[in-house]
Symmetry: C2
Subunit: 422 residues, 2 copies
């Protein structure tokens, strides 16, 4: 059951961490800055209270480690310390604090685990300061591209220099690569950033997959004309064609399980009250937890746009500008989370994550899972971002329970037996 | 029958007039400028060749008058001399040259009319230089607002000063008001600015009415959201609502005789590829030759927008930003034009004018009618604007024939009998 005092304690830590921010509304904490440094000080304090050994790796990832028996594998947990500009006090950083508080509970209860646990606070997930992100988990997975070190922020400071100034040795990044055989898995806690759990009245939920994303640029070309002199029947109105496409995509996504579609930008030319629109450019974004679903939707987008353009005598140009595969969560880890939630009295709905997370990169290293907490009004990346103490308390309970449950299962298995989640 | 040499002659005059332009593509001839002055010189030349007495009134309207019997009424014809910036060589000015060439034909044939004829070249119809227009016809109709004299162009030159510098006496404008009892009517020749006559394969057409226009600003307000985390079923997507409205208006206009509808501008916010649109502002323009049709369409716009907003949970704000009543052409004058066209072997389709013309203001003074010529690809207000010599020749024939026909009808009626068109 949830115990509000844990949630209140979490909120107190998060309030202190929210002070580690550039001036202005909400929280602005970018990687390798004085604000980052200040946050690491507070995280070190709470990690040490939980009995963790604290270190900073070459990627700027703060690691709080609970040692296990000699040669035992490690379970990784955590999230990112950074925020967007004028963001909230929960996105990322809550996923560092709550696992630490779960470990503090286990320590208080004298629980000993048959494996090591590390809570990781990655430096940069949001990619706000540099045009790259996920360096911490990519270094662990061995997928970090060293060329990214030459990317610069808007003040002309390159990533390599920013890291060096932060006291790090970026040339050591390749040495951070972990041996998958030594890792039980990765669990990330994050706020949902959407309205599903709040609407369901549930404090926590279990992520089935991080959605794959693809984006398309679409241009429909008709014929600009005087809206007073071009008869309706002779118009080739690019906006009317675009309107059909917007509605076709909405209907497709509503009718397809898991699929989300968005037309988020639309510009027309010439753009005068008395001019029939001759050209519309718009963007389409498709997301789905299944790459097959997304691929089918992409094909359907092409088919519908072509049909509309042909019927209306419009030119059509489409370019896929971005694609990122879905990251399915490991069934074994989702099963741990489900059992732990049930054992603490939570229904914990299963839902996909529409946003990308550190988990996307960790999936290249080991089996991954994610726990969501509900958030207020689905708001994130905004000063109004909020997670209630009850939800945080429930999340701490589920995380502590996972550690206990997996610990018991691990002890009952033979030393060389199957490792859960692999 | 059309005689190409007349069209070729018209084209030669129009080519000379097109030289009266600011440098740059196409024709740029604004009122009360050296280019205006140069054009008046050429128009004076062609008017004098046609035997007309030439004068300039206080509004800058060049008047070429064929005197009639003492006390006889006058038939007014003409259009405007000015162009838009980087416009074409036909819009407006062709409607001055062709009636003059028709009168030149009658003079060559020794035809004497029982009424006077004036061909008018108004200074400003496009309203490009000053935020007002139609001064010439409004002065004749007594509807000119003297306050407009204080409006300034983008160089800070006020209309009053520009007219004085042109040698005019703007304070005399009220004296230009004509006595409707002395006027038989007004006939304007203009290029269609649309594709209807070209598509029909006809050189000339007869305008039934100048469409009324109304414009509305529409704002649909939904809820901006992250396109990855907001489930489809919970979205309040302002763009999807706008798309429905665009298509509803298109269908309404296609299904309603004479109605034209256009959504010519559309802006969405926040306007990011991964953001569900929370707000869309768009403009709706409705045009119809019948004010009743347009009023019904305006009511239907409100009904459909309200239904869409209610069904989708969107906020709706609508403001009518502009309204201008339709100008029906006088049946008597359209009948003159129809008979004259038939007598010269033209089918002359009847069609509405979606654009506004000097005729709109002349309708406050006397019965009005308009003759359209076909234009190439429906293009106007552009350097590519073009009217073929055959169409101009056919128009000259129709205008000359109207003068002869009305002259004969006028002679056969009693001196105090009914005046055609009243």
């Amino acid at each position: 059951m949830t115990e509000p005092d844990r949630g209140v304690s979490a909120q107190a830590w998060l309030a202190r961490l929210a002070e580690c921010s550039e001036p202005g509304p909400g929280v602005t904490r970018l990687p390798f800055t004085p604000e980052h440094r200040a946050a690491l000080g507070i995280l070190t304090e709470v990690m040490q209270q939980a009995g963790l050994a604290v270190s900073l790796d070459a990627a700027g990832t703060l690691i709080g480690r609970l040692e296990g028996p000699a040669g035992a594998p490690v379970l990784l947990m955590g999230s990112h310390q950074d925020s967007v500009r004028e963001g909230g006090a929960y996105d990322g950083i809550m996923g560092v604090v709550l696992p630490v508080l779960a470990l503090r509970d286990l320590k208080a209860e004298g629980v000993r685990l048959p494996f090591a646990v590390e809570v990781l606070a990655f430096a940069d997930e949001e990619g706000v300061r540099f045009p790259t992100a996920l360096m911490g988990p990519r270094a662990l997975a061995g997928t970090f591209d060293m060329a990214a070190l030459d990317m610069c922020d808007r003040d002309g400071v390159c990533l390599r220099r920013a890291m060096q100034d932060f006291g790090l040795a970026p040339d050591d990044l390749p040495r951070l690569k972990r041996d998958p055989a030594q890792i039980l898995g990765w669990i990330e806690l994050h706020l949902e950033q959407g309205p599903v759990l709040e609407r369901a009245g549930q404090p926590v939920g279990i992520v089935t997959a991080i959605c794959g994303i693809e984006r398309h640029g679409v241009t429909l070309t008709g014929k600009a004309a005087h809206a007073g002199t071009m008869p309706m029947q002779m118009r080739r109105d690019a906006l009317a064609g675009a309107a059909e496409l917007v509605l076709a995509l909405e209907a497709l996504a509503r009718d397809t399980d898991g699929l989300m579609a968005n037309v988020g930008t639309l510009k027309l030319r010439p753009g005068a009250v008395n001019a029939v629109p001759g050209e519309v450019t718009l963007t389409v974004e498709l997301r789905a937890p299944s790459d097959e679903t997304r691929a089918r939707a992409g094909a359907e987008l092409t088919r519908r746009a072509s049909e509309i353009a042909a019927r209306r005598g419009l030119g059509l140009e489409m370019t896929r500008t971005y694609a990122q595969a879905a990251t399915p969560c490991a069934e074994a880890i989702s099963a741990w989370l489900s059992r732990a939630a049930a054992n603490t009295g939570q229904e914990a709905p299963h839902l996909p994550s529409g946003a990308t997370h550190d988990t996307s990169a960790m999936a290249d290293l080991c089996p991954v899972g994610m726990l969501f907490t509900r958030c207020r009004n689905g708001i994130s990346h905004h000063p109004d971002e909020s997670v209630d103490p009850d939800a945080m308390s429930a999340a701490i309970d589920v995380l502590a329970r996972v550690l206990r449950d997996v610990g018991q299962a691990h002890e009952h298995s033979a030393p060389d037996g199957p490792v859960p989640g692999h």
